[in-house]
Amino acid sequence: MKFVQSFWSKPFFDDTFKNNWNFRHHGGFPNPFLFYCAWTYSCLSIKKYYPNLHLVTDDKGLEIFKDTLKLPYTSFSDSLNDLEDYHKGAWALGKLYTYRLQKEPFCHLDGDVFLFEKVLDPVLKSPLFCQSYDHDQYQYSEIHPYVHQYFENVPTAFEAELSDTIKYVNVGIIGGSAIDFFQEYTSKAFELIDENQDKLDDINTGLFNLYYEQFLLSNMLSVQKLTFASLYPKPNDGNAYNFAAFHHIPHKSQYIHLISHLKKTSEYLEQIVARLRLEFPDYYVRLRDYCQKKAL
């Protein structure tokens, strides 16, 4: 199987909504140094267990991750240069474009996901899989009617009665062999964006990204009655799972995902930096020297 991560640099450098965990200035981390530490540790932790790991990015991403930090991806792609004209607030587009590029079974992992074992094996053979799901319809309760009221030519794939029977997915990891489905899903997302780029300055793009990435997927799976495998088999209702249980590694926790505000939590940021320095000192030194030179 092909494992892939994606980095679209345009949202990274957008400081319109600094320090807001719904946006991706500095990748959602407090500063670039911590973002690069997290990304580096993510890559290296994944590569340890799933060596066939690739990066899809753009020219700036290549300059940072390939030329400067020298991360050991199996291959690098600059395909996200194609997104140059898209709105900087639409940070999930880089991920969706990457899914669209896949022509063979794949697993995409976010840059704030860290592995401590071959923990993905139970789901990798499934046609469709994701990290987890919940029944929290309220997370979309404002954005859903807003899009249908103010956006144009909204694809029918977004039509839904919000309900707690729908499984709302989290795509810290996402993938499978159902390539045709991924093509359909990503085309609907881009359809919405392409028809409404002019509306994105007026909207909370943080929530909007979750909407066209995760809500759309959840709704399509529900409408088409497709089953999917979930790394966390039970629903994450009421935050049942702790996705940052570093203290349970390795026995009860082998997967970490620094979702939203967790990217700004000092306890976890310290863990990332310390572990990177301890386990991969050469990469840490290279990264630290780069950041000091650039005063990041």
Partner: protein
């Protein structure tokens, strides 16, 4: 900084300031000290009812920044401590139960106090109670870590001056007695607590 978030949620809930008057990302940023204090001043000016609460919270923030400014942590030492903590976490539960610990003597430097409990609000005013927190600096350029010393965490106050090595079994016996629990009932919770304290906060140092 849960206290800072709870404070702002309280201020909004009590209508001491409107949500659209506060740039929340700036308020929550440890590096926007002047902005945060400015909001506190605005709340005090706008509402006499809020004054005592704001003064108390301001005191907590003053202590937070004092600890942050006075920190002398060397990265190499901190990372080494994290390494020891990671090794502790890789042990089985049975091995952890056989472990011994020391209280980090720096803990007493990190204890702060407020007159209101900023971790128990829920749309009403914070409880009037002598509240203690541990504000623990970190070796990276982010906000200090924060522990509200209530419930099980309160045991850190009881043992903060203890300088002898103690075993997990001794700690379990002490806490079970104090909380009037059977040791079996408390063991899982205490073991998770000790593991988290060792790894994230280094308030408890495992003896290797």
């Amino acid at each position: 900084m849960k206290t800072r978030k709870n404070f702002l949620d309280w201020a909004f809930a009590q209508n001491h300031i409107l949500e659209n008057e506060v740039d929340q990302p700036r308020f929550y940023s440890i590096h926007e000290q002047n902005y945060m204090y400015g909001i506190l001043a605005r709340i005090t000016k706008g509402s006499l009812d809020a004054k005592a609460f704001v003064e108390d919270f301001k005191g907590l923030e003053n202590q937070r920044y004092r600890i942050m400014d006075e920190r002398t942590i060397k990265e190499i030492d901190a990372v080494s401590q994290v390494g020891i903590a990671i090794d502790f976490c890789t042990q089985s539960d049975a091995q952890k139960r056989e472990s011994s610990f020391l209280v980090n003597p720096d803990l007493t430097n990190y204890l702060v106090q407020s007159a209101f409990l900023w971790n128990d609000i829920e749309n009403k005013n914070p409880k009037t109670i002598d509240a203690y927190y541990a504000i623990i600096p970190t070796f990276i350029d982010v906000a200090p870590k924060e522990i509200c010393l209530t419930q099980l965490s309160a045991l850190l106050l009881d043992i903060k001056d203890y300088r002898e090595v103690f075993t997990y079994a001794e700690l379990l016996e002490l806490v079970a007695g104090a909380m009037d629990y059977e040791e079996k009932e408390l063991d899982r919770q205490l073991l998770d607590f000790v593991t988290a304290q060792v790894l994230y906060y280094r308030t408890l140092l495992p003896i290797t």
